[in-house]
């Protein structure tokens, strides 16, 4: 019965086909399945975990670079500081427009001290939510008190001095 499909091409055809294909010598290279597939499957399954580990590593390195401390608690504190300062940024940004005049007004007084004050400001303002100068600076639109402050002591320095004082006091009282 299977001969019905064989007949159309005949025994001569079969012989020719065998002859042609027997001449084809398969190349026996290293079995690809032995080296490749199984490990690749495993690696794909582990890919999310590896990715997560990589991300944690990168974050740790960047946090270490930013804070200079390997202590995660310090990173957390720094992160909170940055977030808080970012939250306050809108309040200070308009202030920066106002700050240049005071700097010009008292350039000789603060040039040397400016860099020493600012880092302390950054570290202290956290507990300082009192931020007494800010409320006073926000109501600025009322315009009456602020010009005095600005002209008086150079708003930036005066504020910094206040924050130093109040910051220390704030931390002391807060803690």
């Amino acid at each position: 019965m299977p001969r019905t499909e064989q007949d159309p091409l005949g025994p001569g055809f079969e012989w020719r086909l065998r002859h042609a294909l027997n001449r084809v010598q398969p190349r026996f290279s290293t079995p690809r399945y032995a080296s490749g597939p199984a490990p690749s499957v495993r690696s794909w399954r582990l890919a999310p975990a590896a990715l997560a580990l990589g991300l944690v590593g990168v974050l740790s390195m960047s946090a270490y670079a930013a804070t200079g401390s390997p202590n995660p608690a310090v990173w957390t504190r720094q992160a909170v500081t940055v977030i808080q300062s970012a939250g306050h940024a809108p309040a200070t940004v308009p202030g920066t427009e106002a700050t240049p005049p005071p700097v010009k007004a008292s350039p000789h007084a603060g040039v040397g001290t400016a860099p020493t004050h600012t880092p302390e400001q950054e570290s202290t303002p956290r507990p300082e939510p009192s931020d007494s100068p800010r409320p006073s600076s926000r109501p600025e639109p009322s315009d009456s008190p602020d010009p005095r402050d600005r002209s008086g002591s150079g708003w930036g320095w005066g504020w910094g001095g206040e924050t130093q004082g109040s910051g220390r006091g704030g931390t002391g009282s807060g803690d």
């Binding site: 064989q6 159309p8 091409l9 294909l21 398969p26 399945y33 490749g36 499957v41």
Partner: protein, 188 residues
Amino acid sequence: MGEGYRPGSREDFDRLYQVAYPRVYRTLAAILRDPDEAEDCTQDAFAQAFQAWSRWRPDAPAEAWIHRIAVNRAISYRRRARLRTVGEVIRRLGKPSHGGDPAEIAVQPDLLSALRVIPPKLAAAIVLRHYHGYNNREIATALGVSERTVGSRLRQAADRLRVVLEPSSFSLGAGSALSDHQETYAED
């Protein structure tokens, strides 16, 4: 076909590879034009089979199962290769996808060249039947189609091969045999 394979057994798969690799390779050599392509597809097929080896069911012959994977790979490989070829696209504009490339046969008038220009599904059916000696059921398993489809493909393959081989087969001295069997086939 050497059976007794256990699904998931690495040793058995190695044994299957030793036995079936040359046969699968030759099947693909009849479908693909380049020995490198045949080797590549055969290796890929075994790699794919190895991943699914634990799920293989012994109710189907292991070699037919591998053949199925390999032929499918070869078909998609050849399809992609044809689509890549600009000449093929141009040729398709001129005529429907039917028949072989007589120019290729005229240059290299052998049976393998003729097999490589007919559709790969048909070439695979011919090789499985006439070279490997599979019956219709085994071919159906190997190609993932019904036995009726296998019969239809074998007839189509014979028709196509006859058309492709006839001009050159006279020079090879096999033309008369093909013509005689054409009559036999017509009675079917």
